[in-house]
């Protein structure tokens, strides 16, 4: 009886999960989507508790209490700049949970487990364990615990791929010799080594893509566990999570004009080190610095302004000053928009969250495709903490590593104000043509300080 009931409760959960993603499509209904997913999850848990008699409810309760004690302070207090780190950590937790449940399923059934189940189980565990270490390294890089630059050494692709190959061979051996339980931890070890090497070799600028790929892996391993346990709600939830990670990874890599494989094994940092030569030639070109007073004068006569924020804005915590600046401009009937490049920030959609936190209304946040046609009619574009995503070389210079990358057409604005700490190039190591255009005003200094000064200058005028 309860078996039948739980199946129907799982159906309700699945419906709620699908509706939840449907409602996530726009801000208006997104909060409802969150509740729908939470209810779906609660129903799945209650249904399972009804169908299966669990003796050690104390352990379950302990798990939930500890989970709530760790989870809720993080969720309540985490600064929005650190959301990518939390996301990486949640992929680590999720994939580890899935891998451990898979392992315990093997230890429960022992050598009597059939070959098919064990092969899915091995694949799921390899994926889970490699996602775990990969996500831990992504977390450490985002948190600044280890340097963000890619770890490059000769033959690294072969070394990391051979650790994966060993894990897979061990998995096959394991399926053929299911009684050999010692294989499981060794296989797990090689999978974890692969995840470690894989993400160590990826640079900080690629983190938005890496997080999305790890998300896809975590979802896929959860779906794999669903196959092992013949649990349909888990298969659906895992596939939804996996396809979401996959789509986001595609969007991220398209926004950087790179393929998946190139992100995973390309080692952007390496390529850049080699293409250093054009920098020397361009060193001769001089750039004039402007003062905030110059910029204030220009803004006095502007009707339309577009801010182009990059992660540098978040690093110097300047979102709030930008918002104040926008308020002053709007009170003078200047139209203000924000142009958001898909890879602005450190995970998909991160810049939108950072600006929303600073109370920028979301209808002022414009996607790249929609804002690009507006630049030619824009009086002033203010670039803060972004660089490569504004480089016109991506459109014009076929030999540039950035060539073909979709960019914000900032250079088409009547005046470009570019706030920059120094003349250092961006992540790609490329010089930015924009600096030398006649309509560009370079303002050097820390983003927050420059914007604060600009705010003062603007209020005075």
């Amino acid at each position: 009886m309860n078996d039948v009931l739980v199946s129907y409760l799982y159906v309700i959960s699945v419906i709620l999960f699908v509706l939840s993603l449907r409602w996530m499509s726009e801000v208006k209904t997104a909060q409802r989507g969150n509740w729908a997913a939470a209810s779906g999850l609660a129903i799945a848990i209650i249904g399972t508790l009804l169908a299966y008699y669990i003796q050690r409810v104390d352990l379950l309760a302990a798990g939930f209490v500890i989970g709530a004690l760790i989870g809720s302070p993080i969720a309540l207090r985490l600064p929005m700049t650190a959301v990518p780190q939390r996301t990486a950590m949640s992929h680590a937790f999720g994939s580890m949970a899935v891998a451990l449940i898979g392992a315990s399923e093997y230890y429960n059934r022992g050598a009597s487990i059939d070959a098919f189940t064990l092969s899915v189980l091995s694949a799921e565990m390899i994926l889970g364990f490699l996602t775990f270490t990969g996500s831990i390294i992504a977390f450490a890089k985002l948190q600044g615990l280890i340097p963000g630059n890619p770890l490059i050494y000769p033959g690294r692709v072969y070394i990391s791929l051979s650790t994966l190959a060993i894990a897979i061979v061990l998995g096959i051996y394991f399926v053929l010799n299911p009684g050999d339980s010692i294989i499981l931890p060794i296989m797990a070890g090689f999978a974890m080594l692969f995840g470690f090497l894989l993400v160590m070799a990826i640079g900080g600028a690629d983190m938005p893509t890496v997080i999305a790929i790890l998300n896809a892996y975590a979802g896929l391993s959860a779906a794999g566990l669903g196959f092992v346990l013949d649990n349909k709600v888990l298969i659906v939830a895992g596939s939804l999570d996996g396809s979401s990670g996959f789509i986001l990874a595609v969007i991220m890599s398209q926004a950087m004009n790179r393929s998946f494989l190139n992100v995973l094994f390309g080692g952007v940092g390496a390529k850049i080190a080699k293409s250093d030569e054009p920098k020397g030639g361009q060193g001769a070109r001089q750039v004039t610095g402007f003062t905030v007073e110059d910029v204030a004068t220009i803004l006095d006569n502007a009707r339309t302004v577009i801010f182009v924020p990059g992660y540098g804005l978040a690093v110097s915590q300047a979102q709030h000053v930008v918002k104040e600046l926008a308020d002053v401009m709007q009170s003078r009937d200047i139209d203000v928009k924000y142009a958001i490049h898909p890879v602005a920030g450190r995970m998909p959609g991160h810049m939108n969250v950072l600006l929303a936190e600073a109370q920028v209304p979301y209808d002022e946040l414009w996607e790249m495709d929609k804002v690009n046609p507006l630049f030619p009619e824009t009086d002033v574009a203010i670039v803060v903490g972004a660089n490569d995503v504004t480089n016109p070389a991506a459109r014009t210079k076929a030999d540039s590593p950035l060539y073909g990358m979709p960019i914000l057409d900032v250079d088409k604005a009547k005046t470009v104000v570019f706030i920059k700490r120094s003349m250092n190039p961006g992540f790609s190591g490329m010089d930015n043509e924009l600096f030398y255009l006649p309509n560009t005003m370079m303002v050097f200094g820390d983003a927050k300080r420059v914007l604060t000064d600009l705010l003062a200058a603007l209020k005075k005028s």
Partner: protein, 117 residues
Amino acid sequence: MATDAAQADLAVNLLIFILATFLGIELIRHVSRLLHTPLMALTNAISSVSIVAGLIVLSEPKNDFVLILVTVAITLAATNIVSGFMITGRILRMFRRRDPNEGKKKEQQKGAETTPK
């Protein structure tokens, strides 16, 4: 016998997996780019439904080692569930439209632009 049953289920499960993946891709493609960060937090929390698998294993653990593994897994999944839904809600609450006064001004401007027609 067990193998036969597992393989019969495989076809059904594969069908579910493929359909859910296609459905997921279609659903996610329609999610506004504004919301990609909370989306990732949400889908991650949803996939923590793996806790259900942990509960099933917990219902008949063979030995203490299994019990430990599953308890750790359940704790990790529970952490994801709690923090995932809470942070999704918190991020979503930050998204707001222009405040009413500014909105009115905007509408007046729009009105001024459209009335001449």
